[in-house]
């Protein structure tokens, strides 16, 4: 077996992954979500003097993720549940797309809005497939169509249909249950998804993975998603826009995560953000959005001396060895390079690699544990894309801060008309 062959089997998995990512990217573009508008909505509970939500006007732009955050009792969950009228507003209108849905049959409205709750709350007496099929069944889909859809959704949430279709919820881990919860909500392809603390009941590692998956799914589906959370970091990570509430459903700030971090509206928001706003900003920028540093490159099989020569001339301390498809194999220092005769074709599994979709925080984390103090960025097919260094990250932070200082473009409406309103965002 030639070295090239051995190497290509080694990265078989990586290439399948790349192909899949490519397929996913091919579907991007269509915004399937619809705009939501809460128009001067008030919720008053009997026997309570102060309304839970008071004269709230809130626009959720189509195809975006909007996070509702705030302390408990601030009315964020009430606001969320008024979107699908699980809680009926006392006053005001709810508009979905161009349709006023304030007075239509509530059950019918809810079938058009995906709903995910904390801990998924799957039907314990039904199998995974039956759980996912709930809404399609009510809509009268044929058996074949439902079965195909169930498998499709299980694939979407990274669960093997053949294994999980027939399982009962209690046979699944918390993270898997939450995945099924998302699949169930997406079953009838609703334009809008609302989620009430969806990842609150799982461990931090699973939560992170589920968040990544949700972003990935959203990239593909472009739904309008509204998520309630009390975790500000989650809001920053997932949200295109963040609404910060305080008691009585009053909006304190409705803005992009960048701007909230860079320019909090008041002390309440500052306290809510907590410490480390600068570090949190790192989660906002992806590796693909920054300018990478070039490296000196050699191909496996070539003599090492030529590469050593070029690296020294360029004044670099490291050189990258690629295979014939430009995928990185090793990242030797000058000292190691000097000891080589020909450039080896074996893959070094310890290389600090980051994907273009990784956040700068992930990249920083990867480079801090690598000996080089930098990381290699690979493209969609695993090909070499460049090097990311600490300087690159510092530069990106500076620029992000400058950009955030300007007003956000096309800010959605969010204001309280009844209360002595704290207005945020730009009334369009």
């Amino acid at each position: 077996m030639s070295p090239t062959n051995a190497q290509s089997t080694g990265t078989q998995a990586a290439r399948t992954q790349a192909a899949r990512t490519q397929a996913a990217h091919a579907q991007i573009g269509e915004v399937s979500g619809r705009r939501i508008l809460l128009d001067q909505v008030t919720k008053r509970y009997p026997g309570q003097e102060i309304p839970a939500v008071d004269g709230l006007t809130l626009e959720i732009p189509a195809g975006k993720i909007v996070m509702l955050v705030g302390p408990s009792g601030c009315g964020k969950t009430t606001t969320l549940k008024m979107i699908n009228r699980l809680i009926e507003p006392t006053e005001g209108r709810i508009i979905l797309g161009d349709e006023d849905v304030t007075a239509i049959n509530g059950d019918e409205l809810r079938r058009r809005i995906g709903y995910v709750v904390q801990g998924a709350a799957l039907f314990p007496h039904l199998t995974v497939a039956q759980n996912i099929a709930t809404v399609p069944k009510m809509l009268g889909w044929s058996k074949e169509r439902i079965a195909a859809r169930v498998d499709e959704l299980l694939e979407l949430v990274s669960l093997d249909p053949a294994v999980y279709r027939g399982r009962f919820p209690r046979e699944l881990s918390g993270g898997q249950q939450q995945r099924i919860g998302v699949a169930r909500a997406l079953a009838a392809d609703p334009p809008v998804l609302i989620m009430d603390e969806p990842f609150g009941a799982v461990d931090p590692i699973t939560r992170q993975r589920l968040q990544e998956e949700l972003l990935h799914i959203q990239e593909e589906l472009q739904k309008t998603i509204v998520i309630v959370t009390h975790d500000f970091d989650e809001a920053v990570k997932l949200g295109d826009w963040i609404v910060i509430f305080r008691e009585g459903g009053r909006i304190v700030q409705y803005d992009t995560p960048e701007r909230i971090l860079a320019d909090p509206a008041d002390e309440f928001v500052e306290n809510f953000i907590g410490s480390g706003a600068g570090l949190k900003q790192l989660t906002l920028t992806r590796v693909r959005d920054v300018e990478l540093v070039d490296a000196v490159i050699g191909t496996a099989g070539q003599p090492a001396s030529a590469l050593l020569q070029r690296t020294r001339e360029a004044g670099h301390n490291h050189a990258v060895i690629l295979d014939e498809r430009r995928r990185p194999l090793r990242w030797p220092s000058l000292r190691k390079l000097a000891r080589m005769e020909t450039l080896p074709a074996e893959l070094d599994p310890g290389m600090p690699l980051v994907a273009p979709t990784a956040s700068l925080q992930d990249a920083l984390d990867t480079m801090l544990v690598s000996s080089a103090g930098a990381a290699i960025v690979t493209g969609r097919r695993g090909e070499f894309a460049g090097i990311i260094t600490v300087e690159v990250i510092m530069d990106a932070i500076t620029r992000a801060r400058d950009a955030a200082a300007e007003e956000a473009q096309g800010a959605p409406i969010g204001l309280n008309t009844a209360a002595i309103g704290v207005v945020a965002g730009e009334p369009a």
Binding site: L86, Y115, A120, A121, H125, T134, A185
Partner: protein, 216 residues
């Protein structure tokens, strides 16, 4: 001898046993339906739920013999008072368990069902009832055991079933075949109760989802 008593009167005993079982089964079905309707009506309202629990607790302390005696006046003799008494006693444990079972259904699950656009009726039938079913079925088994005996008392109102052997035996105690008659009635009721319980266990196997069964 008991054996020859059974042989001699076998068709009559078999017929009475069948009538007895049939009376109980029909009454159980009726009681189940009534208890479920009441349970669904009360389980969400705390004071109604307390009232239902109180009624089922107190109701069970009423001697069945007294109740059937009282019912003869308005309902006459025969099937009517028997069915009424049996259904009454059968409904109580089912009601109690149904209220408890429905109250134990995870409200998050019910809310997520509502959030998916299920109607109230659909939630009752496809979510709450299946989830409360194991508890309800336990109540039904208790009812079945208890009501087998109550149905025997129904013979006092000239109702159908094995009770007639017991009453006729007791009324001629000391006479020929009196003891045998009582024994046939009592043993018959016990055997029927065991058969019915076995049936209900089997029913549970078939109707309780594998997802919520206690032991697999």
């Amino acid at each position: 001898m008991l054996w020859s008593f059974v042989i001699d009167r076998f068709p009559q005993i078999a017929f009475s046993a069948w009538q007895h079982l049939w009376l109980v089964v029909q009454c159980l079905v009726l009681a189940l339906a009534i208890a479920l309707v009441i349970a669904f009506a009360v389980y969400r309202v705390p004071w109604l739920r307390a009232l239902a629990n109180g009624v089922s607790a107190v109701g069970l302390t009423i001697p069945s013999f007294a109740l059937i005696g009282l019912l003869i006046a308005p309902l006459g003799f025969g099937v009517a008072p028997s069915v009424t008494v049996v259904v009454f006693f059968a409904a109580l444990p089912v009601l109690r368990n149904a209220v408890v079972g429905l109250g134990e259904v995870d409200q998050d699950v019910v809310e997520s069902a509502r959030g998916m656009g299920m109607s109230r009726l659909r939630i009752m039938l496809t979510v709450e009832l299946p989830l409360a079913w194991p508890v309800i079925l336990t109540g039904l088994r208790v009812s079945a055991q208890m009501v087998m005996g109550v149905a025997a008392v129904a013979a006092y109102a000239l109702g159908p079933g094995l009770g007639s052997f017991i009453f006729s035996g007791l009324s001629r105690l000391g006479g020929a075949n009196a003891l045998e008659s009582v024994a046939v009635g009592v043993i018959g009721v016990i055997v029927l109760a065991l058969i019915l319980d076995l049936f209900l266990v089997g029913l549970g196997r078939l109707t309780i989802s594998r997802g919520i069964r206690v032991t697999n």
